[in-house]
Amino acid sequence: MTASDLRTLQARISELESEVRELRAEAVGKQELEQSYRELAEHSADVLWVASVDRRQLFYVSPAFETIWGRPIEDAVRSPFAFVEFIHPDDRANVLGLRDLQDVGESPREYTHEYRILRPDGEIRWIWTRVVPVVDADGEVTRVAGISSDITARKQAEEGLRSAHDDLDRRVEQRTRELSQTNAKLRDSESQLRIITDNLPAFVSYVDKDERYRFVNKRYEDWFGRPAEEILGRHLKDVLGSQAYERIRDKVAVALSGEQITFEQSLPFADGRTRDFVARFVPDVADEGVVRGYFAMITDVTKQKLAEGALRETEQRFRLISANIDEVFWLASPDETELYYVSEAFERVTGYCCDDLYRKPMSWHDTLHPEDRSRLERMIEAEPGPPSEAIRDNEYRLFRRDGELRWVWTRSRPVYDDEGALVARAGVAADITERKVAELSLRDSEQRFRQLAENIQEVFWITSADGEDVIYVSPAYERIWGQSCESLYESPRNWFKSIDPEDQARVEAAFYSNLKPEPFEEEYRIIRPDGAVRWIRDRGFPVVDDAGRITRVVGIADDITDRKESEQALRESESHFRRLLEAQPDSIIITDAEGRIILANAQTEKTFGHTREEIIGQPVEVLVPQAHRAAHVGSRTRFVADKQAREAGLQLEIMGLRKDGAEFPADMRLSLLETDRGLFVMSTVRDITQRKEAQEALRQEKELSAAIIKSGVDGILAFDREFRYSLWNPGMEEISGYAEDEVLGQCAFDVFPFLVETGEDELFRRALAGETFVAKDRPYSVPGTGKQGFFEGSYAPLRDEAGEVIGGIAVLRDTTERKLAEEQARLLQTDLAYMSRLTTMGEIASGLAHELSQPLTAINNYARGCIRRLGSNGAVSPEMLDVLERIASEARRTGKVIRGLSDLVRRHPPRKIDVDMTVAIDEIHDLAAMEAKLHHAVLSVEIAAEVPAAPMDKVQIQQVLLNLVQNAGEALEAVPPENRKIEIVATVRDSVEIEIVVTDSGPGLPPDELDKIFERFHTTKKQGMGMGLAISRSIVEAHGGRLWATSEKEGSGASFHFTLPVPQGDQTHGSGSNCLRRR
């Protein structure tokens, strides 16, 4: 190296040094700028605005406009596009043309742009604006809102930085190229170079083509927190960390390919935090164009970025404010000594200017009500140390500028940056005066209510909706209930317990079960602790919320004991009177002096057929027939007018009119009542219809009894105490043959001696002794005619009006015929029973003989067969043959014995005489009917007129008939009683035989049973031998007739038919009466 070379180099270095000094000064200036820039950002004196979607019309511009634009706000909102005039001519087209949302027709979205404005003082300022569409609830864009910041300072700083960078680059490039040519020289002066680079406000490094550090300045050491020795020679990746290396790798590649590159990047710093950098990589190109490495110039822009971030944050808050502009929003330093922003609502709420507040943030304290102010100050004093990070709520009274006192509610909260550092305090304040006033007035009214409640006589109470919680009860409770209010608050049921048990159910239903939002009322008794009973009237009024739910029940209870007691007394006296009135057997009607009915008793309703409601208030003449009304009015008026008549009262017989139009005779008495309310007439009316009718009935009864006595259906007689006949009616004449005049006045025992002979005189004596009785089947005989018979008599004493027995009366009936008939029936029954026994025995014997004859025949046949076979060939001993012969003969002898026995009890051949079938049936009719009745069946008999007499043993045939009726009755047991019928029909068939059919309505017979039932010992019944039908058949057959059964179909009943032949030629009818006399 030559000396001149060295000189040149030294000169260059000194040049470089001076340049570096300049640059340093510049950098310091830039740092200051940066500082102011931050302050600017922190002050956030940005312009907020709201405009129409096309931005032609500004609706709102914040006051900062005046500061930034240097013009009054009015200029901005004066006319559409007024603001355009303030835009730098070079930027107008850009702002208007390209960014007009509506012209572009795109869906609105957020955008930002930067432009310059011209201030009236000729200053040009850079404005950064973010425009945001304001979307309403329907998604429609109605407005745009914007924030515009003065970024002039930033622009200038950026510009300065950029030119500083470029300058530095250029110089460094130049110098390094020179340096590379003079490596040796450079090495000598390396320490100097380091001084330079170390002092650069940037991170400077040289990285070779293998991406290994070759040079780092002092700041670089600070960045990574390690000495240069630990960095140099190491790979980028090792130093930066693989994560950071990956971010810049492609940038490194660009630089190593020979291109210069500038970029922004956030990278982790030594203290672990990420920092933002602006980096410029400049390739180190050798003469031959070979890239040996690159220079890196990296500037830390973290603070700048932070300022931008804060801007964005503020802006978001402002957007909130624009939406909720009614409340005051503010942003201040964490200790609140510095106000960053307060929304315009502050001016509206306080009447003070925002600017004043910006200037003196604490000045608002002066507006507070003295009480609240001292409270606030005490609070601040009580909270020393670092600014509070808590959310704070407060309410203050403050005096507006115009002197009006307003209530303000505030809430503030801390604001943190991304790194969690407390950067601000944001708050909101609202005017709550109206709410406060309402609250206060509520409190006032509550106060008034309480005064009212606690001074009234009645108990005022409030409970929960279910009544189980007492919210309030007024002190009157203690006076009326005799219990403390506290006891009620503690046990709300105490109230209920105090109620008389008789009333509890009713009250429970009304007060606890009533969840309908309607008022309710109950009267009940309570028993106080001192035992006194009080009547309470209690009314409840459910309180309902907007949703219709009951939230509370308020009520008022008052002591109505006095009223109740007087009511009770009144009611009792009225009830006495009313009962008296109601109990009257007469109709009592009270009318006023004009004749209008004002009261009527129960009997009146019965007598006249009207209800009381119908006649009260009506003229009393509604109860009088039309024809009598005029007269009635007259007599009534006279009665009221005539003092003498009034005093004496009045009694009349009148006609009454019933509601149904019927008229009736009545007795009426009038009397006068003089009361303080005037004159009243009391009418007592008695229906005398019955009395009149009774008189009539008595008369008719007399006539009737006379007619009865004379009619002579029964014999009626009367006698006096001396047994002399005093009455003898035609019936008696018929029975006795004695006429009335023959016996009247005669002693009974003289006229009819038999009375004494047979002891009938006793009947007379019993009647005279007062006994009423019936005597049956008494014999009589009539002197003279000699007529004898039986009678039945009802005897009774005859009494005079005093009840003394003055004689006797008897009603007699001749029962001779009935008695005879009864006797005959009894005899018949005896005959039938005897016959029945006899025939049954004969039938049994005959049946037995028949059944035994079969085996006996067989025995005999077998034995005789043996004898014939054995005897003919002589192979058997004579003794054997003899024994066989004895077997045969014993069998024959047995047969004879049996036949003899059955002959003994054998039914005699019927003793037939001509009998009228009608008579035969008539005789047993009663027995048959009785038999039918036993089975709850109805018997009907039908005998054809031409049925002739026929020869028969009547008793036997009657037995057959009764048998059949009995069978029919038994068959009917299977059907319901209402369907039980037995029918006997007698007809003549071809005039050769009489056919008698007994039909029942029973279940009938199956075809295979129709014959079997006639077999002996065949029975379907539990009792009986099954002989009845067999015997009947025997009897009928012995008469030359037939007996058989038919049954049309099952369920339609069975018929039993028997026939009796009628002898031809002689058709004379037999005489039944002869038969009857037979014994």
Binding site: I859, N861, R864, G865
Partner: protein, 207 residues
């Protein structure tokens, strides 16, 4: 003849049936027994001489009903009624309807056997008479209508001359007819002829 006589027994009591068979077979009779009337009617052989021992009271068809049924069918078998006690009235009825006799149970075997023999004899006799009548009727059938005419008049006792006058033919012709009639009828004499014709008429009336 040559056909063996047979005794039919109808009784619903099985022991009575068996003992009767035992008894009757002990005297060499041929016996067939039936529990009821329809069975008997099915098995009855009209070609053989026979008699019927019949119980009166039986289920389905009683003795009397069977008797009636036989009458309807033209069967003339002799019937002996055996009755248990108490059916005497029915037995009387049966006799009226042509039964040979009735015997009450239990009965003497000899009496029954006698009755059976009597009945069988009667049946054989009846059969002989019927055969004779059948022969006579067959002979009469062989006569010409004129010969029958002539025969009827001869049997009614008219003279040849009178017959000739009545028929408007000559007495000689009548004589010729008469001779041919006698020959055809195998009659030896006028009395013989009259007997044949009368018995034939009676038989026809009976049948």
């Amino acid at each position: 003849m040559g056909q063996e006589a047979i005794v039919y027994v109808v009784d619903d009591d099985v022991e009575v049936r068996r003992s009767l068979r035992w008894l009757l077979e002990s005297v060499g009779m041929t016996v067939e027994t039936f529990a009821n009337a329809p069975e008997f009617l099915d098995a009855f052989d009209s070609a053989r001489p026979s008699c019927l021992v019949l119980d009166m009271r039986m289920p389905e068809m009683s003795g009397l009903e069977l008797q009636r049924e036989l009458g309807v069918r033209g069967i003339t078998i002799p019937i002996i009624i055996i009755t248990a006690y108490g059916e005497v009235r029915d037995a009387v009825e049966a006799m009226k309807c042509g039964a040979v006799d009735f015997i009450e149970k239990p009965f003497s075997d000899q009496a029954l056997l006698d009755q059976i023999h009597k009945a069988l004899d009667r049946d054989i006799e009846d059969r002989h008479r019927h055969e004779f009548l059948d022969e006579v009727c067959a002979k009469i059938d062989e006569l010409t209508p004129r010969e029958r005419e002539v025969m009827d008049l001869v049997v009614s006792g008219l003279s040849t001359k009178r017959i000739a006058e009545d028929l408007g033919i000559s007495p000689k012709t009548v004589e010729a007819h008469r001779a041919r009639i006698m020959q055809k009828m195998h009659a030896g004499s006028l009395a013989d002829l009259v007997r044949l014709v009368v018995s034939a008429r009676c038989g026809a009336a009976v049948a």
